[in-house]
Symmetry: C2
Subunit: 155 residues, 2 copies
């Protein structure tokens, strides 16, 4: 299958977000960290293990009519650091992003420690998780000081 | 989007299995019960919440170059009873199946009771799970007699 045919395995979208160059076999982790289950009603297409010109095989996720915010796509750095994000408007790439770990995730990730004060409904606290090592990567909850590895955010 | 366009949201496959008319938002459950994670290396495409001529919205899963056995697609009756299965050869539908609950699943589903003798590696036992109510549906392990609801088979 040529790279051109691969492009066509899932259809072009008119408006929305394309997450490309996901490591082969990791698309479901991408859906997971973005909180996409299909129950939200959005038109989503996924292609797994398709040939790619840049990497040997890759996965692709397309979400129609939804423009993922930079904050949301930054979360992808935890599960798909090599992914690229294209914002599509009228079938054209309106914006191209590399996913990047921010210094801090504010209100985007839940601390996996169930007894952390940021998980207590009684407290009006915004979960704040610092990235302490961008290479590994390794994170740390600002409230309970727990060190967190990316896999702990998966549901 | 017309039904014709929907067909094209994910590309036609030359050889393989198409699971169509999955209830909208249930595609990930279908992958789960078939044991498809993407790590197996198969080319898989998924479309969620696409318009359908038969039902208002639907999900579709296509697995290239793999012909799912009837025993495997029967498992779909637990999570996607209204789905249809098409076996594709040379771009044509070579076989069309409705998913149907068998009377018994032999060696296809694992009893969710961790202490069931069928889960003990020391015993050379083939897990055997009877469908005791096809309507609800409700199942029962032939070894530990535990009643099992379909959701218990999800990982």
């Amino acid at each position: 299958m040529s790279a051109e045919e691969t492009q066509l395995l899932i259809r072009r979208i008119k408006e929305g977000t394309v997450i490309d160059h996901i490591k082969a076999g990791e698309a479901l982790q991408v859906l997971d960290i973005l909180g996409i289950t299909g129950k939200e009603g959005e038109i989503v297409s996924v292609a797994m293990n398709v040939p790619s010109s840049k990497i040997e095989k890759k996965d692709v996720v397309k979400v129609a009519n939804r423009f993922l915010k930079t904050q949301e796509t930054d979360k992808l750095a935890l599960v798909a650091p090599q992914a690229t994000v294209n914002i599509i408007r009228s079938y054209k790439v309106a914006e191209k992003r590399k996913v990047e770990l921010p210094d801090t995730f504010i209100g985007l990730l839940k601390c996996p420690n169930p007894t952390c004060i940021s998980n207590m409904k009684a407290e009006p606290i915004v979960p704040t998780i610092d990235v302490v090592d961008k290479e590994t990567p390794l994170l740390k909850c600002r409230f309970c000081q727990r060190l967190i590895s990316p896999s702990e955010f998966r549901t």
